[in-house]
């Protein structure tokens, strides 16, 4: 539970009083984070888990424990909303919506995760539009 997350200066300024982080996530997602019993099914099926700094079940634990450094986690941006975890969760918690809530908390503090102008010209012409619209909707507030 004591992994070192790369801290972002702006994101680290977002602070919460006791219980506020979980409350905000619950309001945005409509999910009960305290329902999680840490079985790890979400992490076992996640296609990105090997690239994540926190596994999805750890993310939920961080929220419950009021550890707002979870907002610095790579995990929330690596989630591509494929709904595999949400489909398999034995407690029927929609983890996909929880990841979106964490992204939204960062984005609603006017901190974008993607800078559109950094995408190389050649790629802009090659990649399907649906990828761009998705990326901008997920990573830019």
């Amino acid at each position: 539970m004591n992994k070192k997350l790369k801290q972002d200066k702006e994101i680290s300024k977002i602070t919460f009083k006791k219980g506020e982080l979980a409350a905000e996530v619950e309001e945005l997602s409509g999910e009960n984070v305290f329902g999680c019993y840490q079985c790890g099914t979400c992490s076992a099926g996640c296609p990105y888990v090997e690239d994540m700094d926190l596994t999805p079940d750890e993310v939920i634990r961080y929220i419950i424990l009021d550890r707002s450094e979870v907002l610095n986690s790579k995990t929330i941006w690596l989630c591509s909303a494929c709904f595999t975890c949400a489909e398999r969760c034995p407690r029927d918690i929609n983890i996909t919506k929880i990841m979106e809530a964490l992204r939204q908390i960062v984005l609603r503090h006017k901190i974008d995760h993607t800078k559109a102008y950094e995408i190389p010209e050649k790629e802009r012409h090659m990649i399907p539009q649906i990828a761009f619209v998705s990326l901008f909707r997920k990573n830019i507030g």
Partner: protein, 297 residues
């Protein structure tokens, strides 16, 4: 039967071949796809935060335009558009208050009455045409081909808008069997292809493409069949790039199911559109004797 059709932006650019082949097979099956008027971008990913109604506007506006044309069904080819339209349709049916807010916000549009059924083209082929009917129309059974069906996420999840079972889908393998193909099963068939990470995390997506395709190769597959334009790009283009990352790896050709149907129905090669692929499947089709020496390629 005339079917109202919602294209979406990608079908007009990097997935022209999906549209072209789908139009051709629909015609061959005795139906017609008619592009709807005034369609706009659907927003591609559905809003997942409860308070964010703004992102339901684009899909809802398209559903209103379907109603404006006096239709109660719209057929979609793109998996991501279909998923987004279906999710918004569901949300406004389940939460009438949200629908009222959205209707009031769009004061230049007619109110949405909730009469539209969004249907994926694959569902149309399965439920309205029937794979057994399709089977009877096959002119060139694709007997020598071993193909792995790849579903990705958007066809199957979330379960409320899925076209088939989320863990054990069969719609593509049933279709392949009808065309005479030998189906190669693969547990990665329902895993994400990397989606929009293809922009910022190219190598990660190449690794995913490698993982999905190398398992298929191990099981003897000659090619992959799929339906989503973004999955096609990731498995085909990013998969091709994975050849430089993994020694000895050779990317498999990737088909849209519509292209494969067009081949099996013996339609003119000009509708296949294989020139948009990074790995051209023509060589494979010639090697397997499906396509004879084709004159106009």
């Amino acid at each position: 039967m005339k079917l109202l059709y919602f294209p979406g932006c990608t079908l007009k650019t990097s997935a022209k071949n999906l549209e072209k082949s789908a139009f051709a097979i629909t015609k061959a099956l005795g139906h017609e796809l008619v592009e709807m008027d005034d369609w706009t971008c659907c927003g591609v990913v559905s809003s997942l935060s409860d308070d964010d109604l703004m992102r339901h506007l684009a899909p809802l506006r398209n559903l209103i335009h379907v109603e404006d044309q006096g239709e109660n069904r719209v057929v979609v080819l793109c998996d991501m558009c279909c998923n987004t339209l279906k999710q918004t349709n569901l949300r406004v049916k389940e939460k009438p208050d949200d629908l009222e807010t959205l209707n009031l916000f769009m004061d230049r549009e007619n109110d949405y009455r909730g009469t539209v059924k969004v249907q994926h083209f694959l569902e149309f082929l399965r439920d309205d045409v029937g794979f057994n009917v399709l089977k009877k129309m096959v002119k060139k059974p694709l007997k020598n081909l071993k193909i792995m069906p790849y579903y990705g996420c958007m066809l199957l999840r979330p379960r409320e808008v899925a076209v088939d079972d989320a863990e054990e889908p069969t719609i593509l393998s049933d279709l392949l069997s009808a065309l005479g193909v030998e189906v190669v099963d693969n547990p990665f068939k329902i895993e994400c292809c990397g989606s929009y990470h293809t922009i910022q995390e190219k190598e990660l997506v190449s690794r995913r493409a490698y993982r999905i395709a190398s398992y298929a190769i191990e099981r003897g597959a000659d090619a992959i069949v799929l339906s989503c334009p973004l999955c096609r790009f990731n498995l085909d283009v990013r998969g091709k790039e994975a050849e430089k990352m993994f020694n000895g790896y050779k990317q498999l050709p990737v088909f849209y199911y519509t292209q494969l149907i067009a081949v099996a129905l013996g339609l003119d090669p000009s509708v296949y559109g294989f020139d948009q692929h990074a790995v051209d499947p023509t060589l494979l089709l010639k090697k397997k004797g499906v396509l004879e020496v084709v004159k106009n390629i």
